[in-house]
Structures are given as structure tokens and as C-alpha cells.
Symmetry: C2
Subunit: 207 residues, 2 copies
Amino acid sequence: MPQSTEISSLTINRLSVYLRGLRALQSQNIQRISSSEMARRFQLSAAQIRKDLAQFGELGIRGVGYDVSHLRQKLESQLGLDREHRAVIVGAGNIGTALARFPGLNSGSFKVVALFDNDPSRIGDDLGELKVSSSQDLKAVVRETGAEMAILAVPAEAAQENYEALADAGIKAVLNFAPVQIKERPETRVKTVDLLIFLEELASTLR
Amino acid sequence: MPQSTEISSLTINRLSVYLRGLRALQSQNIQRISSSEMARRFQLSAAQIRKDLAQFGELGIRGVGYDVSHLRQKLESQLGLDREHRAVIVGAGNIGTALARFPGLNSGSFKVVALFDNDPSRIGDDLGELKVSSSQDLKAVVRETGAEMAILAVPAEAAQENYEALADAGIKAVLNFAPVQIKERPETRVKTVDLLIFLEELASTLR
DNA sequence: GATTGTGAATAGATTCACAGCT
DNA sequence: AGCTGTGAATCTATTCACAATC
């Protein structure tokens, strides 16, 4: 039964987890798996997995389980990972350069195509495949490369204005590492990841 | 009315957001604020803010609002941020070194006291205040420094074993950046932050 | 016999709306 | 008059349990 209603972000995040697991299974040449076996492997409930998966059709075979490769393809297309997504990084400080070098961002469906900074002393620096470009060239580079996504790794004060520039350049989705609430425009989604909040959550368990 | 029941992690995360906002207010010398004004400033609902805050006592004054400084202290103590938390970083690769240099981790209640790697060629490298230490010294350094928290920034394959070593060394809470499900021990909490999952969530909106 | 897909039950989180203070 | 604290209502998510299917 195809989904009529929007899939929640909680579910989407679990799909990513399932996908990761399925890839691992495939590399071990495992072709079929049951929901309960998946549940055991990645600490979730079998009913939850079945509910999640049932949202986009009858993917499993009753009495048998799920076909690993078929399920993987289905999840990839559902998550929009069946094609390449080009991304730019804005901010060539610690986090920006670390992410630019992070292998996970250049394998699979994501590809970092540019790294921007507005500090003239950084422009031109070499990072493997990439050179640091001037923020002034943002619009042109986005147009040329067809980038749709951006990672925002600038200081908190500069986050909103850089978000605006990204939205103006036609970027559709932004992963923001600055610890501020970005005022969002309808055409450019933001997801903020605040590392301190994670640490604070952990600290609160240390009472 | 004091909380009898556990506070959910959703709530804890919002408390961090409130706290951040309160600090900003305080630096603008604002002494009192209402739930609706907080809601306006950081895009949340006023009722939610009141519910969250009411969990640990009658913090506000009816007809008036909340006292910024009092509320801030209360939240800090609730989140365990009224004292210093020492943390070690394991893994001096891209992400580990970026975090070691990240100012947010050394202001406020957190302090990075050591950075470990098991690659001999990296040991001894200088990073501002810190030198890269050998993973073999983990236990001793944790004992000497009194670190309670750790940031795990090693490759996926090495994450579980390093977690075990941290748990053995007496670390109580671990923020894990490796894209794997860590098998947790009761005495050492883990929070996994998987950057690819965030990107995948964004990508799924780009259909 | 095994395992999915799913309606019903439960649990959890958010919003509403208003009584109760200041 | 204004704003908090909170029970009740609503909405969302998870788990249960079993009929349907292979």
C-alpha cells in the first residue's frame, strides 16, 4: 500500500539505518533476511521495522522474509539516494575542512563539489581535490556544478546571511552546524546539527 | 512540582535551546521574559515551553514571566552544566582534530583534556594546548585528569573496541561519530551522531 | 511452520483552553 | 490585566497480536 501521507523524519532516520545494515548484509552475500533478524542485528523492534517498510508497498514475502537487494534498492530510491547529490561546503574553518576531507561525504550518493570561505588568506588553499573558493563566486559555482545541497560551517553570527546567500543561489537543502536557529525560507530546507546539544544531553545523564 | 518521572531526551534537547537563548538575553541585560516572547524568539510554542519548565518546580511568576538569571541557573543545574565536565577525544583524524580545535568544546562547562590516537606517526603532534597521546595511555590519563566523557572519532571498524576501552577506563558517557550501532554497557552511555544520516534525511526531501 | 502486513491497543508528546496567582 | 501552571483533548509513534500468505 503506497504512502498517501508524509513519512515522518523519525522513520526516515530509521530507513537510513536499515539501509546501512542492508549494505553490510549484501557485502556478506546474504540474500534474504527476516524482520526479526534485522531487529536483532540493529537493536530495534521487529514490528517497527515491518511497519516502516510496509509504508511503501508489500516489500516482503510472508513466511520468508525480505530480499536484501530488492529492499536496498527500494530504500535507496525512497531516500532519494539512487542518484548523485552534489553539495557545497561554506566555511573552511575546522569543521568545514574536516568535512571536506571526510570520506563518507564523497562515497555513495553525495559529492562535495566546492568549498567556500570569505577570508582572503584561505582562498586558494588546497584540500585534496578541492580548492577553497571565494564566497563571492557562490552563485556562479552552484549554477555550473548543479549543486543542490550545502553544508554550512560558519560562525553563528554569519549563519543566517550565508543561508540567505545559499537560498539565493538556488540551493534546496542546508545542513547547518552553527548553533543558531535559522529563519527558514519555504524553498530551502534547513537541518541544524548542534554538537553542543548532544554533549549537553549526555552531560545531563551524568547527574 | 518536582519531576518524579524521567525527563525525555526531546525535552532535554529543548532545555539546551532555551539555555542558549537565556544566555543571549542575559548578555543583552534582559531580566525578565514571558513564555510567549521566548516562543517568538526561538520558534517554538509557548505552551510547550511552559510545560517543559514546569517539570522542575514553579519557576515563573504568574502575571509576570520568568526571571532570566534564575531560570538560567535552574536549567544549568538541571542539565548538569553547573560544573566542569572533562572530556577526552579518541581519534586524531579529521573530525577528532577539528573537534579538539572547536572553541565551543572548551568554553562553558566542557573541557577537552586529552586527544588520543594509535597511529605512532601522529602521537606527539601539537594542537594548541593539546598534544596527541598514545591510546595505550588512555586509562592512566583518564584517571589523572578525572575525565568523565569521551568523543569517539575513529573509523567505524574501530569504534566498538575503543568504546570498550573507554568504558574500562571509567568513562561514563560517549559521543560517537562513527556510523555504527555501539553495543552499550549499562555504566557507559553512548549517543551516536551520524552525519550521513542527517544528509540522507535532507536528501529525502529533494525528491 | 514461518514470517509478513496490519488493525487495535498502548504509550508518548504536543496543543488547547482556562483556572489560579500576582 | 497578564501570564503561568496544568488537566483535558488531540495528535503521533510504538507495540501487540493475529489473520493472511507463502
